[in-house]
Amino acid sequence: MTVTARHPAPASAPVPAAATAVGAAATAEARGLVVEQLSGSTDRRRRIRVPRSVARLSGVVVVLAVWQLAAVTGRLPRTFLGSPVDVARAAGHLIADGELPAAIGASLQRVGVGLVLGLAAGIVLALVSGLSRIGEDLVDAPVQMLRTVPFAGLVPLLIIWLGVGETPKIVLIALGVTFPVYINLSAGIRQVDPGLVEAGRTLGLSRLGLVRHVVAGAALPQLLVGVRIALGVSWLALVFAEQISATSGIGYLMTSAQELLQTDTIVVCLVVYALLGLLADLVVRVLERVLLPWRRSFTPDDVQGGTR
């Protein structure tokens, strides 16, 4: 009985050492095996590389150019929307005469105070509801109900209760901030890995020790998510709050510009709102880096990957 080889043997049995690689490739192709080179020198065509950051700006440049062109050719009246150059000029004036810095200062103060109060309220409520059964029964249902009320709709009531001064503005911002902080932190506390709590108990941690070492560590990332959302909401609340007969702040600047049909000033204010929002996001990112160093070790690319 003859033994048949599984693979067809090369035609010339002894392959010279120098030609081994070529010979192997040749037999592979003869067998109909398709190979591809995954690394090593390839003669791919060279392309001109534009940095990604520059490439991503091109869309913005096109929009600005079209906008400016429309203004210059008279298709876009200044009372409808000022051109980018008008906006830049208005920004220059507003900064030079100190009006814009003062307005930003007034707005920042409102947001700051509202944020601190809202954060404190959200954290206290979440701790009460997350750490005790009675607290959860008492706090969670009312907060979940109130949460569904759009906070901007409270403006008329706030004016009746608190007048038109600073108080209703700050309370509105604080209210807007409280809910996302509460929702996220209480969820974070509830999602603590029971295995870790159990381990903590066998390590002899007291109830307070468990909260400090186990619950706090587990809930902190979720709290920061809440803070990030809260910062976004706080700017939104500020816009609503500053519609309540303000006499200072970015909102005031906008309302007075509206009366004079100064569309360029209004656009400047919108840009400022956007930049402040961006700044707030940056602050949270820095906070996350500082407060969650252990997460960096396994999610170095997640932040970038997630936003794509």
């Binding site: 381990a199 903590g200 066998t202 390590l203 186990v214 252990w294 070790s297 396994f298």
Partner: protein, 252 residues
């Protein structure tokens, strides 16, 4: 009734210190028609310094018994007395990801310093990873950190819940070797829950086989532990038989 204390129950011979003394233990989950009895009328005494392996098929109640001994299960009937100074290593290492390895090791130990942690980490050959975040450890390293965390408490009773179950075969051998070494050095009583007969024979003085919520077999491991030796093969065959594996050699 079930609060673990170091006080001795009446009726024990005072000459022999017991790390575990369990009498008429029962544990039932659920109530009424849905009730399932996991442990019933179980007695167990483990003298100080003894290494006990607890074998049994899944669902036989061995992990429940370990949780009872750890003081994590309060809903039991019967008398449970265990050494107050005890430590647990779980199947998953259960390290806190937001604390560096050395802080995990000394968590909950009053007055412990970094030096205390380093000494324990040295014993499990993990000193070089003291400042690492737990998420960067390999499975074997994390399990060793978990052992260091148990050791640093200098326990009289060490409870191990399938601590090598999730490790690959090579890492498991090293870890088993380490546990044996540490037991020789510190001599705590050990209760090791496992479903691995070879592991039980390699490490333990005494093997318990659990079935139907009670300890069905209780044997001392005798003779040499050499893998191929006649005594080893005979003991292994007997244990596998009790576990319901009857064709001996082939099954693991």
């Amino acid at each position: 009734m079930t609060t673990p204390t170091t006080s001795r129950p009446t009726g024990t011979t005072p000459t022999e210190a017991l790390a575990v003394d369990v009498r008429a233990l029962g544990r039932t989950f659920g109530t009424g028609d849905a009730a399932t009895t996991v442990i019933s009328d179980l007695d167990l005494a483990v003298p100080a310094g003894q290494f006990v392996a607890l074998l049994g098929a899944s669902g036989c109640g061995k992990s429940t018994l370990l949780r009872v001994l750890a003081g994590l299960d309060a809903g039991v009937t019967g008398d449970v007395t265990v050494a107050r100074n005890r430590a647990v290593a779980f199947q998953a290492p259960r390290l806190l990801p937001w604390k560096k390895v050395w802080r995990n090791v000394v968590l909950g130990v009053p007055g412990a310093t970094r030096e205390t942690a380093l000494a324990a980490l040295r014993e499990v050959r993990l000193e070089h990873r003291a400042d690492a975040w737990p998420t960067t450890l390999s499975g074997g390293e994390a399990q060793r950190a978990s052992l260091a965390r148990a050791l640093v408490r200098q326990p009289d009773l060490l409870l191990l819940d399938e601590p090598f179950g999730a490790l690959d075969a090579l890492t498991r051998l090293t870890a088993q070797e380490l546990v044996r070494e540490l037991w020789h050095a510190h001599r705590p009583a050990v209760v090791l829950v496992t479903h691995d007969v070879d592991e039980a024979l390699l490490l333990a003085d005494r093997v318990l086989v659990m079935a139907h919520g009670r300890i069905e077999h209780d044997v001392a491991v005798t003779g040499d532990r050499e893998h191929g030796s006649a005594g080893y093969v005979e003991q292994r065959r007997r244990l596998l038989g009790w576990l319901g594996v009857h064709d001996g050699e082939g099954a693991a």
